[in-house]
């Protein structure tokens, strides 16, 4: 069965420091992995995705994610956090037979000034 996990409910980081939001997955075939961000009272915004190819995927707003097949992880990263990055981040897994996305439980990122 497919699953995706975000082990941290909340991540706190100081502005200017690097940030990492963790995501691990379980799938029998090739994974299609996505990151979305949700600001307060808004819908989800697509950030980036991994389908195949280069393990480092670059996305919107300076975010990137590293696909690691051996560790079944797809962590979201940014070299220097901004206060405006504070939001709820969702990892999602696709590629299953039903072509539906499976979302993680979300990680709240709080960037302190």
């Amino acid at each position: 069965a497919q699953s995706v996990a975000q082990p941290e409910d909340q991540v706190n980081v100081a502005e200017g420091n690097p940030l990492t939001v963790k995501c691990t997955y379980s799938v029998s075939g090739n994974p299609y992995l996505f990151w979305y961000v949700q600001y307060p009272n808004r819908g989800l915004q697509f950030l980036l995705k991994y389908i195949t190819g280069d393990n480092l995927v670059k996305g919107s707003y300076g975010f990137e994610a590293e696909f690691n097949k051996s560790q079944t992880s797809f962590h979201l990263k940014k070299p220097s956090a901004l206060v405006s990055d504070s939001a709820l981040y969702f990892c999602a897994l696709g590629g299953g037979a039903t072509n539906k996305l499976i979302f993680g439980t979300g990680t709240l990122l709080a960037v302190q000034p």
């Binding site: 819908g43 697509f46 539906k100 979300g106």
Partner: protein
């Protein structure tokens, strides 16, 4: 910004009322989805559609119903609202039949529903 719209953005309504949450997209996407987002912020898929006249139930059982008469329109209806329906409802769409690219979903801004 994705071209997917939801109305109303906020709705406060009494128990027993019938409500319809509207969702429209102008991207020509075949697949559309409804998610319920609970206070813990977890997303639950409640309905989806592969195209006109196609509707499927999602992973979370819901008392709501949906219809897909036009490609761009995917309304969700609650025949008799109850306090347990209080939640945020998110609509999304994606392309169909283009491999993994078709699994990128684009979301509307959501409708926050409060049933008293």
């Amino acid at each position: 910004e994705a071209d997917i719209y939801q109305t109303p953005r906020y709705l406060v309504i009494g128990t027993g009322k019938k409500i319809t949450l509207e969702c429209s997209q102008t991207m020509g996407h075949d697949k559309m989805y409804w998610y319920q987002q609970d206070p813990g912020m977890e997303l639950h898929l409640i309905h989806y559609s592969y195209g006109v006249n196609s509707t499927e139930k999602g992973d979370l059982s819901s008392e709501s119903t949906v219809s897909r008469i036009r490609t761009e329109h995917f309304p969700l209806t609650l025949e008799s609202a109850r306090p347990s329906h209080t939640s945020q409802y998110l609509c999304a769409s994606s392309e169909l039949g283009v491999g993994p690219e078709g699994e990128t979903q684009y979301f509307g801004p959501g409708t926050r529903l409060l049933v008293l």
